[in-house]
Symmetry: D2
Subunit: 343 residues, 4 copies
Amino acid sequence: MVAEKSALPKSVAQVKVLAQPGFMPAEPRSAAEPHIWRWRDLRPEALEMGQNVHDRERRVLRLGNPSLAPRTATTNTLFAGIQVVMPGEVARAHRHTPAALRFVIESRGGYTVVNGDRVPMLPGDLVLTPNWCWHDHCNDTDEPMIWLDGLDTPLNGLLETVFYEEYPDEVQPPVDVMDKGLTRYGGRALLPRWEEHHGRHSPLMHYPCEEARSSLVRLAELAEGSPQDGVILEYTNPLTGGAVMPTIACHIQLLRPGERTAAHRHTSSTIYHVVEGRGASIVGGEELAWESHDVFCVPLWAYHEHVNTSSEPAILFSYTDAPMFKALDLFREQAHPDGRLGA
Amino acid sequence: MVAEKSALPKSVAQVKVLAQPGFMPAEPRSAAEPHIWRWRDLRPEALEMGQNVHDRERRVLRLGNPSLAPRTATTNTLFAGIQVVMPGEVARAHRHTPAALRFVIESRGGYTVVNGDRVPMLPGDLVLTPNWCWHDHCNDTDEPMIWLDGLDTPLNGLLETVFYEEYPDEVQPPVDVMDKGLTRYGGRALLPRWEEHHGRHSPLMHYPCEEARSSLVRLAELAEGSPQDGVILEYTNPLTGGAVMPTIACHIQLLRPGERTAAHRHTSSTIYHVVEGRGASIVGGEELAWESHDVFCVPLWAYHEHVNTSSEPAILFSYTDAPMFKALDLFREQAHPDGRLGA
Amino acid sequence: MVAEKSALPKSVAQVKVLAQPGFMPAEPRSAAEPHIWRWRDLRPEALEMGQNVHDRERRVLRLGNPSLAPRTATTNTLFAGIQVVMPGEVARAHRHTPAALRFVIESRGGYTVVNGDRVPMLPGDLVLTPNWCWHDHCNDTDEPMIWLDGLDTPLNGLLETVFYEEYPDEVQPPVDVMDKGLTRYGGRALLPRWEEHHGRHSPLMHYPCEEARSSLVRLAELAEGSPQDGVILEYTNPLTGGAVMPTIACHIQLLRPGERTAAHRHTSSTIYHVVEGRGASIVGGEELAWESHDVFCVPLWAYHEHVNTSSEPAILFSYTDAPMFKALDLFREQAHPDGRLGA
Amino acid sequence: MVAEKSALPKSVAQVKVLAQPGFMPAEPRSAAEPHIWRWRDLRPEALEMGQNVHDRERRVLRLGNPSLAPRTATTNTLFAGIQVVMPGEVARAHRHTPAALRFVIESRGGYTVVNGDRVPMLPGDLVLTPNWCWHDHCNDTDEPMIWLDGLDTPLNGLLETVFYEEYPDEVQPPVDVMDKGLTRYGGRALLPRWEEHHGRHSPLMHYPCEEARSSLVRLAELAEGSPQDGVILEYTNPLTGGAVMPTIACHIQLLRPGERTAAHRHTSSTIYHVVEGRGASIVGGEELAWESHDVFCVPLWAYHEHVNTSSEPAILFSYTDAPMFKALDLFREQAHPDGRLGA
């Protein structure tokens, strides 16, 4: 029997009168400000951390946006970090609901195991470890491995959806063949049809550098590309043609020497990593000059444009929460009325 | 020319070492606690507010969850309020990205205008004012109108996606025919095919009480319903068979006299409004006894079960953020290992 | 061991040279010609058949299009028939892959059992018996039941996909409650959420006359409707908002007194049944004058327009293979260059 | 005014009584019988035709199934032909609603132009010319080009949906860059995002041999594949992960030396082309021994199994109408009760 014992379990004092005029802003302004982290600063710190911090788990320089402190977040919903795995180390196996990606900066080999599949990691490779997939990392080479960690931990924090589980052993069992997933799902528009993939994320965990780079270079010879992004490719889930994960989309783009993009803004935020080249981005009124391996962020609804200031192609990798906003019908995009911001 | 003027626009001092063991919890625990707001407290306050507060906009008792203060939120993502429109008043026209619904508690008439369509509001009616739809309210009767306001303002706050715009005039133009949308889209599985509906939300803004109530009563005679929810109907977008809005789903359910549901929990949160009847819900270990027009919330990942403690049917209206979690692949559900919590 | 015994199992003489110029027409011309079957002829024949033909199965006047003989087809893909069930008779239970619908013309009661659900049949009701659903019919009244049978048997014949199975007993077991499916799925944009419907067709087998008729009449007061079809409603699958069955869509439309529609044509074909009223259709150059309960067909790619020649509303029920053509990307539609054909 | 002049525009004599018991078969039996066309017969005929037939359009050996004569069809819905383009020839530009594919057998170069994109054709390449895409072919080499033509002309014939249009000029304009579509859409799970593809078919018109072949070989080393098909890959639309065209899916499969597949049947029909290797298929009770470049068909609902009787891998290309049956909910599949048919 459910007794009517509870009088008022909580006070109603919380009830307040709302005088609403102006309680909503005409348009959003993100708490996150534009920010750039320079590789010339990050790399020494990363290596020093590699020497001095000993950790069976993960050793990560967090690229926390100062404007968002004390939250550990790079934009409102996305996180970027620099992870280091020293020679001979493993980062032990676990899984979590936050979706993660790795974009390799320095490596002579080494690998990530995702749900039992051993995925090699070489510079420029994109490796996914989606929502609730087991993953461990191992550096079996003589040089440190350094990569960019991208996660939606801030989003999962906001939505209170973090689940976490440790693998029963330190690492997943060894396998005899590497990169099975790439062999299965990495053909050009070819898919195996004797098995079903469960899950909303891509079945492909490895997007090798060379393929993306050479596709970009070939495309840059024959296509203008987007006014706002130049020649840009999305890494996709080959089973759907959509984003690699429901909360994060990944892109790689090439800016030709001297190319300047048109300015626009959108409700999604983006974190950029400079794969190669030199240029600058004007983001929310600030000019961020960048070069190889720098990391910078474009907060929600901040106008931005990019320029390649050099005489070589510049290549940017980026990840964004746009799929989430589109799924929720909260995606908006707006061209800057002046077209371009810079000179 | 983009000068390399900017040295380091932001310090890298933000970079920190992360020793991660245990940085993620095994499962989430919402900052929101279970809470109930009782109609016997709310109604007098609402009417007093109606007398004393004068506002051209909206007069709302905010059911802020004390555990979430200073945020104005009922669960982490959803808001509930009690809105009062006094005889002769209008609440002037505006639109915003937060999605809203109204569930009418007291009214002798009166209406909401949504994107030009005049929608009557009678007790038990559900009225939608989705993302970016113009809406104004008018009470042209002699009695106060009181309704439950449901919004995803907390979610839009978390995601920094609030856009707001005032209508150029106080109200939208008068119309000669009421409830055109209901006539168009409110047939039983009948849809007009000479026009296209744009937008991801339902084209139907009005779900009259009588239809929902009588469907429930008829169903309760022939179906067991769900172990966790009894006989439960979802208000749907007739163009898709899915949720009425991408971020909010609405349901109405009937618990038979003495019926007790099975306990479960999910990553979505839910706000309940007692349409009629008397019973109790055990939510996250707390027993919340309820009766007509009370409002209570079930936070994310809190076990809950409901019981009708009376000898009459009990009817609950509820709204939930489940469609968002499903779209992001973050929806999880778990039955309580003991089946039922209460005696 | 697979022996190489077979030299050439079939001659290659079949191989022929193709000189292709002109082997494809600029546009299609259906083998089916426009045709009308008049109720004043059909009804006496139907009743006479009811007296003289004794059949445990089904007694159907086939509305075979003379231009398609010896095929039993009304258009290239669709069939229409007039089925009669005499007082006290049953049409025994079976199922087949061809999808079927019944539109009731005369009845004082009687019912169809579809997959165990007993569905009443009154004049103007639409009853579905989709692909592979068990169905039997029973007339437990004192008057003959007469209805329009609509099937895609010609399509299934063309595609060689007819499967058929007899029910082990003459009829499906009796039930205590009628029309459970309508109670479950027939609410206005309300869906039960404790059960999953399997199958691509509508879970709703019964679309009562009164609902469709009254929706049409209300809509005709406030909407222009489509230039080609007037005020037209589609009977839909409430779980998807789409066609009731993957191969057949059903519509009901109202033409106001004197209303004449614009002429167009499409790759789908349509069979019309006059629910009430008097008018004419110009189809492929032929004028077909119609009145209550007449049946006529519009073949693929034939221009057609309708006119209500009376001073009362005219109501037409119709079914079409358009969903198939849309699924196969073979749907095309074209307005007549002159707008209207008739005077 | 629409006069009531027309008495009975068509006789009602067509109306007949239907005594239906047994009018539908328990399961379908295709009019098409299993058939094989051997390359040792086809090639000389093709080359002789190349010498003797002069045609500005297309020169095609039609692989009409004798059991379907006088229809020009290989299965009920699909057509196969052997097309020859002699050195220096062009097959002039046109488009039609039947969807087409080409699988190249012999070629030293030469190309097809599809909607303005010049696509090279080398042995083993798959080239699409979908519904309503302009296409012309040109052999600018010194050797004859020979390929397998696959079309759904029989389906379009059955459905009466053939539209055809000649290009204003003999060929589409020359281009400076070849295979732009492959550069755009042929990356491994990489898609350009600055342009929208219109149409339901794949945006990719060229699936080069080498990619498919090497994917198969790599997969055969690590995967069992399907019991019924061995290691099988589907050529997909990279924008959706689905079939290349709404009416036709294309696959390539590898049978290891000695591998014998399990027998099954389905409502779809399939046309096979032996890319390389030697083996046999038991189809509908007939054993069809095959070797390189032979073509054979599996009619609807005929049990079939394949065996590689050699000590080298065998590779089969095939195309099927399965997507159509799935779209219409008419796809059925059944394993043979005995598992395997052959010894």
